[in-house]
């Protein structure tokens, strides 16, 4: 058997109630059912998970690393978007 023809899946695990599913890795599997089982066997061996999502890797639309400048640099100069930019008057106390 070969995994060459098996599609790639991205695996997301939610470790506790109230947390978001977090990307943990990828795997090869023939179909959704087997992908879910393989995710369970590969990524929840140490009690990491309460819930698993698997998503076909080719369903993910990714940004192009070459667009890094255009996409992300404009945000770098806008430090006023961080709450730490603002001085909070002492009289306010904790917000």
């Amino acid at each position: 058997m070969t995994t060459q023809n098996f599609p790639l899946w991205e695996v997301f695990i939610r470790s506790r109630n109230g947390l978001a599913h977090k990307h943990v890795g990828s795997l090869h599997a023939a179909d959704p059912t087997m992908a879910l089982q393989a995710a369970r066997d590969l990524y929840t061996r140490r009690g990491e998970g309460l819930s698993i999502w698997v998503v076909p890797s080719n369903a993910i639309i990714a940004s192009d690393p070459a667009d890094k400048g255009m996409m992300f640099e404009p945000a770098a100069s806008k430090i006023y978007r961080h709450p730490t930019f603002y001085d909070v008057p002492d009289e306010i106390g904790h917000m």
Binding site: L27, A29, T33, Q37
Partner: protein, 258 residues
Amino acid sequence: MAAAMITVAETPLVRYALARADDALILGHRLSEWCGHAPMMEEDMALANIGLDLIGQARALYGYAAEVEAAGNDEDRYAYLRDVRQYRNLLLVEQPNGDFARTILRQFFYSAFADPYWRAMMGSTDPSLAAIAAKSEKESAYHLRHSAEWVIRLGDGTDESHARAQAAVEELWPYTGEAFLPDEAERGLIAEGVVIDPESLRDIWSTTVAAVLAEATLATPPTGWSQRGGRDGRHSEHLGHLLSELQVLQRSYPGAKW
């Protein structure tokens, strides 16, 4: 200097616990033989996980047998220092791995029995066995689901996978009936409600197996004569080879630790 085999004072309950532990240990060991050799990395991990579940079940059952026997034996002595004739596992679980289809069908046939067996055993009047059953049932339920999904994909896959899966069904079929035959020692325990009568699970097993094989487009062989003898220590030639590998270290260096 080789370690001598131990003697076991087999009351019916000790004998029962050892037989169930042996089923789990031998099948777990067989699965461990796939480690690093499975057809794909994902399945390598899956088989090892199932093997570890089974070895965990074996440890719990050996521990309980040791407690009941109270003769200074422990899980390691049961596993490493009994000879072939003292092992009481089903013949099914000692059958060689063969190809991937054979390993999966062996797992499926066993798990289709073990899952309802442990679920029913949760009602045992023996609290230790009921607790072991509760843990084993969850594990066995996954083993059944995982192996059944593979049976369906192999049977309803390519011409080659179908042919290999059908061959595995036929080779293993004569070994599937033994699980439902209680031995003499077990009958007293059944009457007391300590253990369940495996015969009562035959219909559930047949229904599960028939449904999965049908979905897999595999032919279910007719029920007929079945091999037996494992519970009495009469094994196929394969178990001796398996034990020689499993036991060589403790036999050669008695009491070795790492």
